[in-house]
């Protein structure tokens, strides 16, 4: 399971990095979204990958069956903040498209 998870994070990060280096604003925002998914999974992963374990400590139950609750809390915050800032970026993207008339990140097409 660790292998699948790390492969997923790696592929998403790679695609995301490639996309944010592209010249179109839409590609950049998709790249940022992919990167944020990868980062969210990464945060999830640092607590140790366990399946079928609750983040609850109970009397008499060994600690190995418990999953670390802190990354869950962190990832929740990260999702909310990432979502909000991506939405904000989307608005700026539209404003830039309207003002400059092109979706190039520099506001003008590159000379051919």
């Amino acid at each position: 399971m660790e292998f699948v998870l790390s492969l997923g994070i790696g592929i998403m990060t790679g695609s995301g990095v490639w996309l944010i280096l592209r010249p179109r604003t839409y590609q950049v925002i998709i790249g940022l979204s992919l990167l944020s998914y990868a980062v969210n999974l990464f945060i999830f992963g640092v607590g140790g990958v366990k399946s079928n374990a609750a983040p609850l400590l109970e009397d008499g139950v060994p600690i190995s069956t418990m999953t670390d609750p802190v990354p869950h809390a962190l990832v929740l915050t990260a999702i909310v903040i990432g979502f909000a800032t991506t939405a904000l970026f989307l608005v700026v993207l539209l404003a830039a498209r309207g003002l400059t008339g092109t979706d190039h990140v520099d506001g003008r097409e590159q000379p051919k």
Binding site: L32, P71, L74, I81, A84, L93, A95, L99, T100, G107
Partner: protein, 543 residues
């Protein structure tokens, strides 16, 4: 410190939060009311910051605030020590002049200026106060989200384009921040800075590698914010496109990165097996930044870009000097940070007033100048207040003062700051043995060269603006716009006169930073309110 006084620690976050939220309830047409709320909030903030500063300056001060009354490594803490109190005071001092300047006309250029301004202050203060890495992320994001809005305040394609780059860079940086923080959590199992400093000695092998990698990624984020070369190409565009009051308050935003680097490098990586992690990056990166900034200062024709590159020179100086990791020099660097922040803010505010006076011919010439971004300021605002008499004389004197401060010439505080750093590096009372290393000579050379470059550029710009423009009309400048600039310059003058006490405070600050045991002890053993003994049976299931 007990009772209500302890609650003052959270006030620098709550005051702007409440004020900013309250401002959202009022329509944009109620300008006077909105301005009043904003000003009152900034004044209250300054009062609280000064009160905390006075407490922090006394010895044996324990300024730890447990949010929700949870014990330290488990809950979130806010910590006031000498360094964070200094930064709080600097931020609140900067907020008042920039706000007053904005009230003259800029605050009407777009919606929600005051709310965004307050939220920016909240993020700044939170970043200075927090004792927890993840909370640092949250406050960074609050600060950045507000800064996105402020950067694009006043609109125009120039600002939106600069804002697009700025947001993209900062979103990528925020993702790196999360990777760094979670790698540190994965290896150390804690996010509390004091707890991390305690545990770092016990982490070995692969986990230490993960921890150091996480810290390195985290460092990259703060270096992007501080503007270290080659992570700083976004900065000149963003800062020179912003409106004057916004650029003024942004002068402290690049110092947030430096604050966090200083805090973490001395608290967590000050001693032990990972001691001195990344110091060389700071040293050589800082030197490269000074060189890049100096070339930029010499090359820039528009004043806004000159000021932006001065931000880079200031950041580079601080980073290089922090990379030396020498207590005396670091104290000088703190003094330099205060002085250069005030200077750059004053300069950004002044630029807009000076450029207002340039005639049509000058702006046609300026079109050929790279990225001249004032094309969208033609709309005439209804003038409020009294027009300034003797405008050109006052503007000229302020411009000269900024030039003297930026180049570090006597008699103003820029000189004192550079002198303090240089004495620490090559002076007679240098502690240590053997000859001075080559890197120090390089920094000394770069510092002096950057001062010379600033002097040349400022002289050139001054001649072009004040002497060469014979047919230029006298700019209409209001007292309300001139007073903040003069206040900021007067503050640097006060800093020069009070250089002795100020330097003693900085030296004491660096001493406390170099001995993090007291900080760690204060955080870990912070007493909970209403609990007689830490971890006692009446704690209600704490530990």
């Amino acid at each position: 410190m007990s009772g209500w006084q302890n609650h003052l620690i959270i006030a620098p976050i709550l005051i702007p939060l409440v004020a900013g939220a309250l401002l959202l309830f009022f329509d944009e047409r109620e300008r006077v009311l909105k301005a009043m709320i904003s000003v009152v909030s900034c004044l209250a903030l300054a009062a609280v910051a000064f009160s905390l500063f006075r407490s922090a300056a006394t010895d044996g001060f324990d300024g730890v605030y447990l949010l929700g009354n949870w014990p330290a490594p488990f809950g979130i803490v806010l910590v006031v020590d000498r360094l964070s109190a200094l930064m709080l005071v600097l931020a609140s001092i900067l907020a008042i002049p920039t706000l007053v300047y904005a009230l003259a006309r800029w605050h009407t250029a777009g919606a929600h200026f005051h709310s965004l301004f307050q939220f920016l202050l909240m993020g700044l203060n939170g970043a200075f106060l927090t004792g927890d890495l993840f909370n640092l992320f949250v406050f960074f994001e609050v600060m950045l989200a507000a800064s996105y809005g402020l950067l694009m305040h006043g609109s125009g394609s120039m600002r939106v384009k600069a804002g697009l780059h700025y947001i993209a860079v900062n979103l990528a940086a925020a993702l790196c921040f999360l990777i760094g923080v979670s790698a540190i959590y994965g290896s150390a199992g804690t996010l509390n800075m004091a707890d991390l400093a305690l545990r770092i000695g016990e982490i070995e092998g692969e986990r230490r590698m993960l921890l150091e990698a996480g810290a390195g990624i985290l460092g990259v984020v703060f270096l992007i914010k501080a503007g270290m070369w080659p992570l700083n190409f976004w900065l000149p565009g963003a800062y020179s496109a912003a409106t004057a009051p916004v650029a003024g308050i942004f002068a402290i935003m690049s110092k947030v990165g430096i604050y966090v680097i200083l805090r973490l490098s001395l608290l967590v990586f000050g001693q032990g097996a990972s001691a001195g992690l990344g110091l060389n990056v700071l040293l050589y990166g800082g030197m490269a930044t000074i060189a890049f900034g100096t070339i930029g200062v010499l090359a820039s024709q528009a004043l806004g870009r000159l000021a932006s590159y001065s931000v880079l020179v200031s950041s580079g100086t601080l980073l290089a000097v922090l990379g030396l990791n020498n207590g005396v020099v670091t104290a000088g660097a703190l003094f330099y940070m205060v002085s250069s922040t005030l200077t750059i803010a004053a300069f950004f505010l002044l630029i807009e007033l000076v450029e207002r006076g340039q005639d049509a011919g000058a702006s046609v010439l300026a079109v050929t100048m790279e990225a001249y971004g004032d094309a969208d300021e033609e709309e005439e605002e209804v003038e409020v207040g009294v027009t300034m008499p003797g405008t050109i004389a006052v503007l000229g004197i302020c411009f000269a003062a900024c030039g003297i401060l930026l180049s570090g010439l006597p008699p103003l505080s820029g000189f004192v700051a550079k002198f303090a750093m240089l004495t620490g590096m090559i002076g007679t009372n240098v502690a240590g043995e053997g000859p001075i290393p080559a890197s120090v000579w390089w920094i000394v050379g770069l510092l002096i060269l950057s001062g010379l470059a600033a002097l040349i550029s400022m002289t050139r710009a001054g001649i072009r603006t004040f002497w060469a423009s014979m047919e230029g009309t006298v700019p209409r400048v209001l007292v309300m716009e001139m007073a903040p600039v003069m206040l900021l310059i007067a503050l640097t003058l006060a800093l020069t006169i009070q250089a002795g006490p100020a330097m003693r405070y900085m030296e004491k600050t660096v001493q406390t930073l170099q001995q993090p045991a007291a900080y760690i002890d204060a955080v870990i053993n912070a007493r909970r309110a209403g609990v007689t003994e830490a971890g006692g049976p009446d704690g209600g299931g704490g530990i």
